[in-house]
């Protein structure tokens, strides 16, 4: 008998159906993977189980008994513990306080400082070795690196006596050693009989540690199977539905004949960059690879004037100083961040208002001529085949992928010479990802020079004409032509590390 069963779960947000009669069964001692494109409802399902989202309808049974999970506290009392993708940490509290936030040990109403430290040390013990420099149980969480924060969130999820654990993309910021320490702990919990729900976009991981997999598509559970009985291709096919859209994982493109040199960097250095030199041609997509956080994003941000640099930047052969985003925009740079909510979408404003700002800035206008602009806005949105119900609607009415298209379209109102893409497809489902990369390729074909960083190697390989591998702020290897393979990329990333 399954330990936990969720059946017929339904949830709608406004007009969007997030879950439609979705179901899942969890057995003790298994690691159950949930796979699905973004926006397919995985996170919603997990949050319902954890009590932070209320379902419209559906039944949850625990050991055959129907239960009601009204809020996170109720979930906790039932033995459900969750790792949140967006983390649930208090930045100004210490690591120890965060790990034990659910239940700070007290004596007579006062916090028992000694017990806090002791229990936190115990909870963090499995990750102590891999936490890295500057980690301390009494450090402020806000002072930690992203991977360290993620470890704290993991330790927080494990703390206490739950027997159902939910991990929603727990490894995105972790390095290999940290991931392995985490997997070891997962194995230990499994052996103790815990049921684990695991969400990940990384296929290797899924096959490495998963026991069973449930695929969700458009809010419906499509299949449940033992991972031993299925294949990567089959899961992908189930995730995307009828069409076999494996293009994101396709072979590297044929490099086009290089156009003239658009951008040349000479010994560019910054807080995180060391003597970066490169040339970027018109019509080229130049990929930035390597382990996460080795300077790829920092280079893009530096070029957009967000970080001070030394060294020379030549645009079309002319030196250009990049002190601020406004300078960079005037110079012909465009920047698209994967962090749509904080750096991309002007949330709460209309699609129209999200398309025009770059044009307004470049054209030095002061009066807003809505009618005149409308035609241009429609034109660029059409290029991107953006589905929307009218440009007056708020941008938040669109899916993540379509929001990103709107943000890209900003840069198409006028000529943009160099497009800096900083993990542009983060959190976007496979199908829309494909569309976005097709679009990016078509922009390159029209002569735009593109620097691309993505956190997924497969995407990088499938879409870059050349790849520069970064390590610790330096370019350590260039991969071109037939060298653009997963093996070469992984080897280059790791051998220098």
């Amino acid at each position: 008998m399954p330990h936990l069963k969720m059946t017929d779960m339904n949830k709608t947000y406004g007009a969007t159906k997030a879950l439609t009669s979705c179901r899942i069964e969890l057995f003790p001692g298994e690691l159950h993977v949930i796979m699905g494109a973004n926006g397919s409802g995985k996170s919603t399902l997990c949050k319902i189980l954890a009590g932070s989202v209320k379902p419209d309808s559906g039944t949850i049974t625990l050991d055959g008994r129907k239960v009601d999970i009204s809020d996170p506290k109720a979930a906790r009392n039932l033995g459900v513990s969750i790792f949140y993708q967006e983390l649930s940490l208090s930045r100004n509290r210490t690591v120890a306080e965060n790990i034990l936030a659910k239940d700070l040990p007290t004596r007579a109403g006062f916090v028992d400082v000694k017990a806090v430290m002791a229990q936190a040390a115990q909870a963090f013990a499995p990750f102590k070795e891999v936490a890295g420099d500057g980690f301390d149980l009494s450090a402020r969480v806000g002072d930690l690196r992203p991977d360290q924060r993620q470890l704290v969130e993991i330790a927080k999820a494990f703390a206490g006596d739950a027997d159902i654990f939910i991990f929603d993309e727990p490894t995105s910021a972790l390095d290999r050693a940290q991931t392995e320490a985490f997997f070891k702990e997962l194995d230990r919990r499994k052996a103790e009989g815990a049921a684990i729900v695991f969400i990940s976009h990384r296929m290797e991981e899924v096959f490495e540690i998963g026991d069973r997999v449930t695929v969700i598509r458009d809010g419906e559970s499509v299949s449940s199977a033992s991972l031993a009985d299925t294949t990567r291709d089959r899961i992908v096919a189930e995730m995307v539905g009828g069409e076999s859209n494996t293009g994101v994982f396709a072979d590297p493109p044929q490099a086009p004949a290089p156009g003239k040199v658009r951008l040349a960097l000479q010994d560019l250095s910054s807080r995180r960059l060391r003597d970066v030199s490169l040339t970027l041609h018109a019509g080229e997509i130049l990929g930035l690879g390597g382990l996460h956080g080795q300077g790829q994003s920092d280079l893009l941000r530096a070029l957009f004037g967000l970080e001070p640099t030394t060294g020379d930047v030549l645009l079309d052969g002319t030196p250009i100083a990049l002190h601020s985003p406004r300078r960079a925009i005037r110079g012909g740079f465009g920047y698209i961040s994967g962090d749509r909510q904080t750096e991309g979408a002007i949330t709460g404003r209309s699609i129209f208002e999200n398309v025009v700002p770059i044009h307004l800035f470049k054209s030095r206008q002061h009066i807003l001529r809505r009618k005149t602009l409308q035609a241009d806005v429609d034109r660029v949105l059409q290029i991107l085949a953006t589905r929307h119900g009218g440009t007056g609607l708020p941008i938040s009415s669109l899916s993540g992928g379509n929001q990103q298209k709107v943000i890209i379209s900003r840069w198409l109102m006028d000529d943009t010479e160099v497009l800096l893409l900083d993990d542009p497809t983060k959190g976007i489902d496979l199908k829309t990802k494909l569309e976005l990369f097709e679009l990016i390729r078509s922009l390159a074909d029209k002569g735009m020079a593109i620097l691309l960083y993505t956190s997924e190697d497969a995407e990088l390989l499938a879409n870059s004409d050349r790849i520069l591998v970064f390590n610790n702020g330096r370019i350590v290897r260039e991969l071109a032509g037939a060298d653009r393979t997963r093996l070469m990329l992984t080897r280059a990333a790791f051998e220098a590390a």
Binding site: Y13, S52, V53, K54, D71, F304, P325, R326, I329, Y335, S337, T342, E343, G344, A345, I346, T347, G348, R349, E353, V356, P357, I358, L360, F361, K362, Q365, H366, I367, L368, R370, G392, R410
Partner: protein, 314 residues
Amino acid sequence: MSGALKPILIAAGLVVLLMIAGETVSPGFASPEQILRLAIVAALLGIVAAGQNLVILGGREGIDLSVGGVISLSALVAGNVMSGSDAGLFPAILACVAVGAAIGLLNGLGVTLLRIPPLVMTLGMLGVVQGLLVVARNGIPSGRAAPVLSDFVSRPQWLGLPGILWLWLLIGLAMAGLLNRTVFGQRIFAIGANEGAARLAGVPTQLTRMMLYVLSGVFSAIAGLCILGYSGSSFANVGGQYMLSSIIAVVLGGTPLSGGRGGYTGTMIGALLLVVLQGLLTTLSIDESGRQIIFGSALIVLLLFYGRSRGLQS
């Protein structure tokens, strides 16, 4: 659009209802003269609220607590510069605007360059301005409004309406134009909605935000000038009552304190609503305590219609 219109319509409906209620309880409440008087008081509040509105729209917890101080100071300065003569009106206007802009600029610099939370910065500035007021009042005799200014505020002039109502209408049109038809307006909404994204989209976020505080200072200064015209002579702390009521007018008009959406049309109605409510309470023959209790409770009930934030659980 209907979403943005709803609070305005509710507020406008309430204004009408209150007028009817007032006329029922105390005949004459909705007489033309009385309506005109209430409209003038609402215009005074509305002009202050225009600046408050801009600062709040700009987000990042934007708020201006120094408006009351600026109003008082501006009224004092204006009274002295014109000291009852029409010839002094123009220099007085210049002096007021300069004072308001200077204080607004300091607020703006503190909020943008030093990144001091607006509530703290403008609160500190309020203390400074109140200190300035004491100094100024001691050094110079309290002045009087120029007759032309008093007429502008309280005498029906064009089409039976006093100049100040035309001024308010003009400010209303200008604000609507600024917010919806200019690039600057777009930038206000953009920094209010998402400052980080706005910056990456080429918006000069610091400059824009600074301008909002300058404008708020200027609007308060203009209001101070008009208030001087309304009361005839400058007396202590005329502006004090405008600090929180200008914020409430903005919120009742459908601009949430979180910024990034809303507009001035609603704020105008919000100002009217507040003034009519207060007028009604004054008309009723109840004592001060009863008036305050009813006014406070009414504000709470009104706020329940607006500005409710979202819950944590979806």
